[in-house]
Symmetry: C2
Subunit: 196 residues, 2 copies
């Protein structure tokens, strides 16, 4: 892509995020985005087929920080349990980054919940993270676990991480979320690996 | 309240839920609700000060099933760990009940996320559940836990429960959520009570 073209795309994304945040995803039209970005509709549709695809691109940008953090955990695989606990270090950063984006994300999800196809696209990142944790848990290979316990263990890690993130976004300053996250993950892992 | 008045209130709630579900919380106006319920605006404002208060009443009705389930756990307090694990039995019912209501709830939250006062009201039930679990965990009194570990333990239980519920709502048929919930809670409790 040429530099000018990249700049145009960035302008669209920037304008869309501003408008989605202020006016709401539903209220902001493609025309509004074009006007705010100072570009033509032709230029818009050269880069994105729809408003929805702009949202999906924004979402994937938002998730880049999370992806990078998780990749660090994955690559330092000397001890899977240790890496999993260290994961809690990235919680505060994700919570901070989520603040302004949460209303947009929630509004998009509410539309997606009424549209089966859109829903599949919206939950795709979530399923990616679930698979990621299943992989980590299987690395830990807690000896006495059977298949269904192993599956439950992975789902438990995902549930715990999701729940911590949600609570952190609801009340960012209420707790030291990195510390709470570490302690919680430590307890869960201890319960997973020391089963009677 | 007289029988006729109770009936009117039920008509409003029923019409509002239908409209919020089909058209969305934002799109449905008080006039629409009155028309659909076949009542006057005077009658509406006799029962509710605003559309928002109708939503809050619907939310508290939706949570009644959850509250009743948790009350059963609280009252059978012979063994707090056991009761906590049994709580997973109510998961599938809550997941089923959430399905049609999720789009409405998400849309409301997206508005609430833009309005600090509304947000406080919207997260109040969540805080109630968190206090509830803190109480249960303190009943368990894992001997070697200090104050901050105890707090983390309560937050971990809430996070796990929230995350399981969210995953269940995203993919209701993907797992036996009662079984996964029990296994996950068992692991977490084991980690909480058998700390080294």
């Amino acid at each position: 892509m040429q530099i000018r073209s990249i700049e145009t795309k960035q302008k669209i994304l920037h304008a869309a995020q501003e408008l989605f945040s202020k006016a709401g995803y539903e209220s902001a039209s493609v025309s509004d985005i074009c006007e705010s970005a100072g570009i033509s509709k032709g230029a818009f549709y050269h880069h994105f087929p729809s408003k929805q695809s702009v949202f999906m691109e924004l979402l994937s940008e938002w998730l880049k920080g999370l992806d990078a953090g998780l990749e660090t955990v994955r690559s330092s695989r000397s001890d899977a349990s240790q890496s999993l606990v260290q994961m809690a270090d990235i919680l505060p950063e994700i919570i901070r980054a989520s603040e302004g984006r949460l209303p947009i994300f929630l509004e998009f999800c509410s539309h997606a919940a009424r549209d089966r196809e859109l829903w599949k696209t919206a939950v795709a990142p979530y399923q990616r993270y679930r698979n990621y944790f299943q992989e980590i848990v299987s690395q830990m290979e807690p000896a006495e676990m059977n298949e269904s316990q192993r599956k439950a263990a992975a789902l438990a890690v995902v549930s715990l991480a999701t729940g911590l993130l949600l609570q952190g976004v609801l009340e960012p300053d209420a707790e030291d979320w990195a510390a709470v996250g570490k302690e919680s993950l430590r307890m869960l892992i201890q319960g997973m690996t020391r089963r009677s």
